[in-house]
Symmetry: C2
Subunit: 597 residues, 2 copies
Amino acid sequence: MKPLLQAMKERRLYLDGGMGSMLQAAGLPEGLLPDVWGMENPQAVQGVHRAYLEAGCRLITTNTFGTSAPKLAPYGVTPAQVMTAAVANVRAAMDQAGVTDGYVCADIGPSGKLLRPYGDLDFEAAVGLFAETVRAAAQAGADCILIETMSDLYEMKAAVLAAKENCDLPILASLIFDETGKLLTGGSPRAAVALLEGLGVDVFGLNCGLGPKEMAPVFQALWEDTSTPLLLQPNAGLPRSEGGKAVYDVSPADYARQMRPLAPMATLLGGCCGTTPDHLRALIQATQDIPLPEIPQWDTLLISSYCQAVALDGRDPVIIGERINPTGKKKLQTALREGDMGYVLGEVFQQEEAGAHILDVNVGLPGLDEPAVLTQTVEAIQEVTGLPLQLDTSNPAAMEAALRRYNGKPLVNSVNGKEESLETILPLVKKYGGGLVCLTLDDEGIPADAQGRLAIAEKIVRRAEAMGIPRRELLVDGLTMPVSAGGDNAKVTLETLRRAKEELGVKTALGVSNVSFGLPKREQLNQSFFTMALEQGLDGAIINPKSEAMMGAYRAYRALAGLDDQCQAYMEAFQGETASSPAPVSQAHTLGLRQSV
Amino acid sequence: MKPLLQAMKERRLYLDGGMGSMLQAAGLPEGLLPDVWGMENPQAVQGVHRAYLEAGCRLITTNTFGTSAPKLAPYGVTPAQVMTAAVANVRAAMDQAGVTDGYVCADIGPSGKLLRPYGDLDFEAAVGLFAETVRAAAQAGADCILIETMSDLYEMKAAVLAAKENCDLPILASLIFDETGKLLTGGSPRAAVALLEGLGVDVFGLNCGLGPKEMAPVFQALWEDTSTPLLLQPNAGLPRSEGGKAVYDVSPADYARQMRPLAPMATLLGGCCGTTPDHLRALIQATQDIPLPEIPQWDTLLISSYCQAVALDGRDPVIIGERINPTGKKKLQTALREGDMGYVLGEVFQQEEAGAHILDVNVGLPGLDEPAVLTQTVEAIQEVTGLPLQLDTSNPAAMEAALRRYNGKPLVNSVNGKEESLETILPLVKKYGGGLVCLTLDDEGIPADAQGRLAIAEKIVRRAEAMGIPRRELLVDGLTMPVSAGGDNAKVTLETLRRAKEELGVKTALGVSNVSFGLPKREQLNQSFFTMALEQGLDGAIINPKSEAMMGAYRAYRALAGLDDQCQAYMEAFQGETASSPAPVSQAHTLGLRQSV
Ligand SMILES: [Zn+2]
Ligand SMILES: [Zn+2]
Ligand SMILES: [Zn+2]
């Protein structure tokens, strides 16, 4: 256990509060980058750190919010130089204050540029910028990386990856939401939880932008979804402008009072703009006796795009559109070979319109540069839809390339029980995050019975957990085989689903339509098998959402399983439609009974 | 326990063999009724009985095969007089032989007339004829009633009812099958088992018509279906005509050898035409050390018409056509009021053609004489179809009238947990036989949860079993309520089905279409709910078989559940049909896997 993460569990630790306005008071000139000024005015910076230490804060943030190569270039200094000086300032302040149990948080702020497609900063370039700062922080002896005030999940992903790839320090990740509960690029709290838990940050939460009162609903939303300790650093209320300067009106006493109700959900508390050592002192006094939260371990699997999340809660199933897959589709094959995204995007719109929640993306074609094409296709799709995606490839290089560039937390299709698969895919999921579809086959092939498939599923679960991938992230795929090839094929698949869920506590996924291969009236078999699979606990249904029969079965299942409150979704989908043949007559005896009781 | 039934379990008892040819040898003139001649020639009859007693037989059949009022009328004697003399002859023979452990079987043969609709003998008239003989037998002190050589299940039902209503003696019932394994009126062995076990005879089996070898397959078929002790009395082979007289060629030794392999399935063995005391002696010697069969208690519920049976085995579901029900059907209402059967019979043909296995018959209309109309409707339907019927009425008088006249063993819809219902319906089922649909409601109404419905089901099961109606005869109806009226309605019904089956070991039934009441696109909901119910163990599905969606769901379920060997039934039903929209693309990864393993 990293020392900070251990200490954090044992007692309440506090982050510090605002830095900029305090440095201004200490002489920071208007328009100068505080990071650079701090190198030359170590006493001023150390004074601020010391004041927070004396107020009781123990996680002290380096004065490096703006430290990145492009911002520093005009000053002729490197991130390494700034970070080294900034870490030394914190250490010096701790010495001056006689504090031996403090932690240096290497502060990483946003790049100041928007990433593609919103701006022109390339994702890998962003990773590179953050990486330089991270390496400097580790080199300078920081105790953790604090990525903060991020307003875009994609940039956050770049920063977290940079941290994971360039140091072994604990990672704290903090986002800035607006008053509507969204990030600048539209992300929801749940999408943030999905991404950050997928990436495996140690602590995450909220800072800046809002005061404790305005932040409360977003923070509550995080709390209700996450299984990770949370941090909370609001401003001293909403700013108002006074003579061109931002003024924060919430007093230390009010700040502390507003923070109290949030403290039972927060592992780390601190402040942001407008907060002072007095705010922190009041906060600490008001909350230090509140017990640390017990971090719940939720079972829900969250998948996300840049803006929204889809929850697989083990109860309410979701539709994974299967149409972006060149198998047997001449037009799509041609489009992929010619780099023409029009056909793909048409399928995106149609499937979204039809009600899909997640879109499968498979571009596997012989002779295609799959890592490049899959990544480009994923990026093109993410430009036009907020639906999360399922990355579907058996090419590990393509999987890693797409996983890296994917904006959010995708489904990963798939790992299987072969050693080679486990060794390549599990580390990718551990690093990038993703709900993982686990195919129940191994070097021996597909077991004929459910017992054999479950044994493989169990092996994958064990291996994933040993790597730190929680069970909730796994979807066991029972493997649909054509019932025409064996009368027990459907039964075995359904039993695998049911038992995987019951005995292993995982989610389940299934491609449905293969069941009817070789038989007439395929949609009837598909629809029936789909309904049966839903009843056995199918969570992620890989189907054609453009099939009315399949979406009808899905909507009917939800109504019948009590998942569609007052059948509203069903009625909305089908209002105005009547049965295609005369409505079947209700059973007289049942109707009769209803009248008689 | 009646003494014979007790003794029968403790050791092998033997019936006797042929009587007619032995009496001819003793002087019975050609053309004279042996029953009457025996009254005047007691020594001859007693001599035959004594010979069988000395051979080791202990169930001695009275010389009353032709004893019924019409046949006796020319001779000026009554059945009572003949039966009294015949019983006395057996008793005298036992005295002469010093046998104290013998039993007198009062023999009842066929009436010699065909019942309506084949002939002109009314069902109740037949019951009346048999009743007279039964009363005489009981009066004369017979130990059991042996109804034998019956070639029509409807006449057998009349005779058994006469026995049940006019004495407390054990009832042995024996049928004559032809070489194709059918009764004269077309009944199959399984239809015989259904009827006779429903009526609760103590022993049943086969006699006459065939020799042991020819009878073996039919006897084996009975054994594989029944939970009742069996009797077996073949002729001494197939007869050939010699000088206008039937001659039987199987020798005593051959008879005994051919009977040996059947003995492990038979509780009572004996002979029929062509067998002699020597045959019986050889038979006894060859089989008396073979252990008595352990009577298996099967779980399968058999429902039947006059000719065929439908098995509800708890695995493979059956379709109960719901269309003959006037609720909401103006045309049917008019037809029933006007006594016009055309519309009803049209529904019969259409539902049979569509694949129904059983037809529900409900004629409940205000102001209609339901006992009369239901009985007439059932009779009219049975004239045109061999499908078994479900008698569906809440009028107990109508239920009894229809149950009595029904040719076979019907489904009875329904009993419920109300005391009044239990007290009227259970005795009817005990008397006439029938698979019993048990509605899970009582005086308090329909319980909102599965637990409450199961409690009612359990109460009905307990009460039925206490009356001697086996659990296998019961179908618990989970009661379908509209999901529009409550989000949990479908779930509660499905849970009731599943748990009734698992916890109570009963069959299940359900009217399906009520689930979609008040919602658009009803067939989609009906189809989905139907599939879900099938997967939860629905045995008897009360649906509209004319709905393609419903029958499609049924056929697909059977294929997917491994109940349709090589999907043959599915392919036959839909050959030539393709999916209504382009066939959904099989999942690439699944197909890919199949190719790679
Ligand atoms: Zn701030
Ligand atoms: Zn005979
Ligand atoms: Zn006979």
